[in-house]
């Protein structure tokens, strides 16, 4: 889960391995702010699997790659 300068840099780093998923850092920031927003809240309780999946879905992170385990 790392940052890269460009698609070319990702391809070079993969060195022939099967790629995962690439998103812009703006989309990552949306994801991070939605995912971690409540982490320091005194009323925090663990996210249910469906709650986390709903976060991914709401950001358009769909498909098998972004499907959490049941």
């Amino acid at each position: 889960m790392n940052l890269f300068r460009s698609e070319e840099h990702i391809e070079r780093w993969l060195a022939g391995r099967e790629p995962g998923a690439t998103i812009s850092v703006s989309k990552l920031s949306e994801l991070a702010h939605t995912w971690w927003d409540d982490r320091l809240s005194p009323s925090w309780v663990p996210h249910a699997r469906d709650q986390n999946q709903a976060i991914l879905d709401s950001l358009g992170l769909a498909g098998v790659f972004w499907r959490l385990p049941s």
């Binding site: 790392n2 840099h9 991070a32 663990p46």
Partner: protein, 141 residues
């Protein structure tokens, strides 16, 4: 994970933020009880322990230095990955600055997060492991 474990978790996170580093189990109360709570929290993926039973991750915070140094709210921490580094700003509800580098070429990246938005949208985030397998090996993920 019961109410007592959640209280240990709250205290763990609060001290992590206050100290700018991971608290040791003996800094939070009775060492044996704290470590037993941490183990249950670890098993529920609420935090991650190292083989010795001390904190490795209180996600998004890392207990050990990583390539993702985060400055926010006048202090600094390490994130476990790029997602977590921005997540530290999100959890603190603060602007921040992430000092890292391109994972391929090593060129320095100085990313600022202001009002929830990064100042350089040319950067890309690559996630190698599918979501179904993130917790198979969370350190590798």
């Amino acid at each position: 994970m019961d109410a007592r474990d959640l209280e240990v978790r709250r205290t763990t996170y609060r001290r992590f933020v206050e100290l700018g580093r991971a608290p040791r189990s003996d800094e939070l109360g009775d060492r044996t009880e704290v470590r037993a709570s941490w183990r249950r929290l670890h098993d529920e993926h609420a935090l991650v322990l190292d083989p010795a039973g001390e904190l490795l991750m209180a996600n998004p915070f890392s207990a050990v230095p990583t390539p993702y140094r985060v400055e926010a709210d006048g202090r600094s921490w390490y994130g476990n990955c790029a997602w977590d580094a921005i997540g530290i700003c999100a959890a603190l509800h603060a602007d921040g600055r992430i000092a890292t580098s391109c994972h391929d070429c090593g060129e320095t990246i100085d990313l600022r997060i202001e009002n929830g938005r990064p100042d350089d949208d040319g950067l890309l985030f690559h996630c190698l492991v599918p979501a179904a397998h993130w917790w198979d090996d969370i350190v590798f993920t």
